[in-house]
């Protein structure tokens, strides 16, 4: 059987596609098992993938070019379009970079509201991911439950910010508005329901024999690989490394909340799913803490000069935050004019989807390609912007 597979010469499989042994199949961009709009070019031998090329760029809009042409305040509508399931991280990072370059401090209440918004968006994104993970292994039921429940979280956003998906809520100098009437009670109800749903998911998905059989030992990430590939976030934590931006470089008010960094040691798809399941619980808990500790009143934003002609002193900085997929960073360069000189977005999927996925997929059964890809929680628009 081993002779069927091509010989490995210094790390690369040497084979000839025309010999009728190997097929080249494309997964995506039009493929239900591929996350978002990207494509994998797989060379398979029997049931086994022997080579993978990731093709991105289907969603390239040239954000960094467009931002050079827009004033700072005009950049806000487009930065949140970079990551659809979790746009608030982009808004926060762009606003934080601006404030750091301007050297302004935002009010206390605004910090808490921003952290609350970030955690809620983490919750929504995690719910979507858990659904995708179960759907990638063919269990559509859990996917339907979680993605349907995500809508209730989006309702919270709608009440708070007025928008459902893209809520330009964090503006430079604070947030756009305070909490509306009765929103906190509604939030508590939604959070309780979410934790109930998560327990159901644990019974249906994480304790399922077939799910374990397929996910355990799939796409193992070792601690040595983490730095070599630039792996961040849950994918790095599943290898046993305690790395969380919220703990390492606390931003906003995360140093006043108490939470533990979730880690696993196995490093396979199952442990990644468990970590994300526990981090969903963690987000719910953090939301409750924030709602409890938040100052009841106070200013939610400072008054800036006319933002349309806002000039930002020259300088360069890098701000980072913890998104669901790991460290999310903005590198901003200002030359003292009204337009940003350069804004570079560092999406966590950048290293996960290109370099890491191409190497993890080698030798994987073609039935598990979707499961492995989803378990890395890659998201194409961060790669190409």
């Amino acid at each position: 059987m081993q002779s069927l597979y091509p010989p490995i010469v210094n790390g690369k499989a040497v084979y000839d596609l025309d010999s009728q042994k190997y097929i080249r199949v494309w997964q995506g961009p039009q493929h239900p098992g591929v996350t978002g709009n990207m494509s994998l070019e797989l060379d398979i031998c029997g049931d086994q993938v022997i080579k993978c090329n990731t093709h991105v760029g289907y969603l390239h809009r040239g954000f960094e070019k467009l931002m050079e042409r827009r004033r700072y305040i005009n950049c806000f509508p487009i930065v949140c379009r970079i990551c659809v399931p979790e746009p608030d991280t982009n808004e926060y990072l762009f606003a934080a970079g601006m404030e750091e370059l301007m050297g302004v401090q935002i009010p206390e209440k605004a910090m808490w509201l921003r952290a609350l918004n970030l955690e809620l968006s983490r919750l929504a994104s995690f719910l979507m991911h858990l659904g995708g993970q179960s759907g990638a292994f063919g269990m559509g039921t859990v996917a339907q439950w979680t993605i349907a429940y995500r809508d209730y979280v989006l309702d919270l956003f709608e009440e708070l910010t007025g928008a459902r998906i893209y809520h330009m809520y964090m503006t430079p100098g604070g947030v756009r508005g305070d909490i509306p009437e009765g929103w906190i009670a509604h939030t508590h109800k939604v959070l309780d329901g979410a934790s109930k749903l998560l327990d159901e998911i644990k019974h249906v998905m994480l304790n399922n024999a077939i799910f374990k059989q397929r996910a355990i030992g799939l796409g193992v990430i070792t601690p040595e690989m983490v730095d070599h590939y630039g792996i961040v976030g849950p994918n790095a934590r599943c290898a046993g490394l305690k790395r969380d931006v919220r703990k390492d470089n606390p931003y906003l008010i995360y140093d006043q909340l108490d939470f533990e960094v979730e880690t696993e040691t196995a490093g396979d798809a199952y442990s990644r799913t468990c970590i994300r399941w526990r981090e969903t619980h963690q987000s719910i808990d953090l939301c409750r803490q924030i709602l409890a500790k938040m100052p009841p009143s106070g200013a939610v934003h400072i008054t800036l000069p006319n933002v349309l002609h806002l000039k930002i002193p020259a300088g360069q900085t890098y701000v980072r935050a913890e998104s669901t997929r790991g460290e999310y960073g903005y590198f901003m360069v200002s030359d003292g004019s009204e337009f940003p000189r350069k804004v570079t977005v560092r999406g966590p999927s950048y290293s996960h989807a290109m370099a890491l996925l191409e190497d993890l997929l080698v030798g994987v059964n073609i039935a598990d390609v979707a499961g492995l890809m989803v378990s890395l929680h890659t998201y194409p628009p961060e790669i190409e912007r």
Binding site: P32, G36, A148, I165
Partner: protein, 232 residues
């Protein structure tokens, strides 16, 4: 109702009345064959080079019944072309359940009737959209969701996204907004059903009618045209 504003496509109506202008025929050998000059020589005989023909309708009574059946079972091509794909997932879940309307996502273009253009269309995606659209069979319908597919939206000055999708494939229903709410998309689907029942959603024949014009527009933006002129 400002964000649930849905209009039928004015262009299609006008284009249906105005005959297609002649010309743009330099890549056509004769009436019924295409050159496929984008393909390398050794691949030319792998692909069919017949020119697509207009599909004939049957008797009006039967056609009305068939249109009703088509409108009752619309199969969406599961192709998330942009941000709009994020709303396709809530659409199949419990709150807005499009399977009530007899719709279901299909993973292969051969079996889909409806392609939903979700948001901005970059050049690389436009190529795949054209392929998928031409591989779809029968009366096929296009719903353009989000402003970016209609007039470029907030990427009006981007160098990599097309500004209006209806120059490359015929669009039946537009749903404006960024993002349009799922209710808006549902309303768009219902509008499409009305159009189908009324027999107005003839995008397939329009595409064949103005085939040269659409091809010209596509080849203008897709610089590396390495696929057959019509993907059978």
């Amino acid at each position: 109702m400002s964000d649930i504003e849905i209009k039928d496509n004015p262009d299609i109506k006008s284009e249906l009345q105005t005959p297609p202008e002649p010309g743009y025929s330099e890549w056509r050998k004769d009436e019924n064959t295409l050159y496929n000059d984008g393909l390398p020589e050794e691949e030319k005989d792998w692909f069919c080079d017949a020119r697509p023909q207009k599909a004939r309708k049957s008797v009006q009574v039967i056609e009305n019944f068939l249109n009703w059946a088509r409108s009752q079972s619309l199969w969406i091509l599961a192709f998330g072309t942009g941000c709009g794909a994020i709303e396709l997932r809530p659409l199949v879940t419990s709150r807005y359940d499009i399977s009530r309307l007899g719709m279901q996502p299909r993973p292969t273009p051969r079996q889909a009737n409806l392609i939903m253009i979700g948001g901005y269309v970059s050049i690389k995606t436009l190529k795949r959209i054209v392929r998928s659209y031409e591989q779809m069979q029968g009366p096929k319908f296009v719903v353009a969701v989000c402003s970016c597919a209609i007039n470029g939206g907030m990427y009006w000055d981007s160098y990599n996204t097309v500004k209006r999708i209806d120059e490359y494939i015929p669009v039946d229903v537009y749903v404006t907004g960024c993002m349009p709410r799922p209710e808006a998309v549902l309303a768009g689907f219902n509008k499409l059903k009305e159009l189908i029942k009324a027999g107005k959603a003839e995008g397939q024949n329009l595409y064949i009618e103005r085939f040269d014009w659409y091809k010209e527009n596509q080849k203008k933006v897709i610089k590396d045209w390495n696929m057959p002129d019509y993907n059978w």
